[in-house]
Amino acid sequence: MDPNEREQYRAAIHGERDAFEMIIRTHSRALFAIAYGILQNREEAEDAVQDALVKAWKTRWRVHDPEKFPVWLATIARHRAHDIFRKRRTVPLSATIDEAIEPNSAAGTDAPELDQQLHSALAALPELHRAALTLRYFEEMDYRSIENILGLSNGALRGILGRALASMRKQLRPALASLD
């Protein structure tokens, strides 16, 4: 980890508000990508990030190693997104997935069917796979940055992204064939 980055995390843990606010600026998009991967709803993902940042500030003293701060922050965002997901999960999963893709389909009544299929395929992936994919495609993060924020090794991340794309490829094969 870059020494400046480490110092920023250390300062934030020690309650320096400016350092924490800088972390909000630099990390909130990645946190959004993680939360969106779980919720597939922009408003809810934004709420999850906001709640996670407040919780992180209030409990920052729990982090002893500054290098673990980004993973810790991402974990809080994931847990908060899960809480929101569980609260709305009073209907069967299939209905939840339909609901999750609703904002996109509502954006335009003639939204392509392919987009819906893609969102459904994404929703069917395990949570960690979705988080890795959204970090990659929302933020165009390189593997090293994704490993740092999700606390994964390079081999694990390669495996996760490989399996995620393979799973989506299988689900979308007819559509892909028509596009090819």
């Binding site: 909130s28 934004e46 500030w57 987009d115 490989g162 490829r169 892909l176």
Partner: protein
Amino acid sequence: MATIHDEIDSWLAADIHGELSEDERSALHAHIVDCAACRKAHQENKVMNKMLEETLAQEKPDPAFEQRMLSGFRNRIPERSGLVKLLVDLMRLRAVQITAVTAILVGLVQMGRMITGENATPLRDRERYAQVEVAAPQPPESRRSSGRSG
């Protein structure tokens, strides 16, 4: 040892994401030329990568997102006033922390003395007094009786 073919999914993902080294990419592409199934998967991955880029780009947060997060944070956690902030900042200093803990301990000891009524006699003096009492041979009554007999 696993071959490229065995782990083709992770190789293909790393390839479209530009995460393979030059040697790895050469090895993968050499395999793709020979293996029809992997070639097909590679082609499908490229199409899907494009789809994901285009579709998920629409879901990205808007440019004001960070500012919104920051404003929300400031609203929910207002900054402390000058004096409280100064005290909190001071309490972060190790020397101030040690002084504060020492002051609390001294205070507790004093309070304990007030409650028990014990004075601040040093332990060494207390031991000396105890020795003097032990050394005294007879209680006052026996001394009196021995005086009468003598």
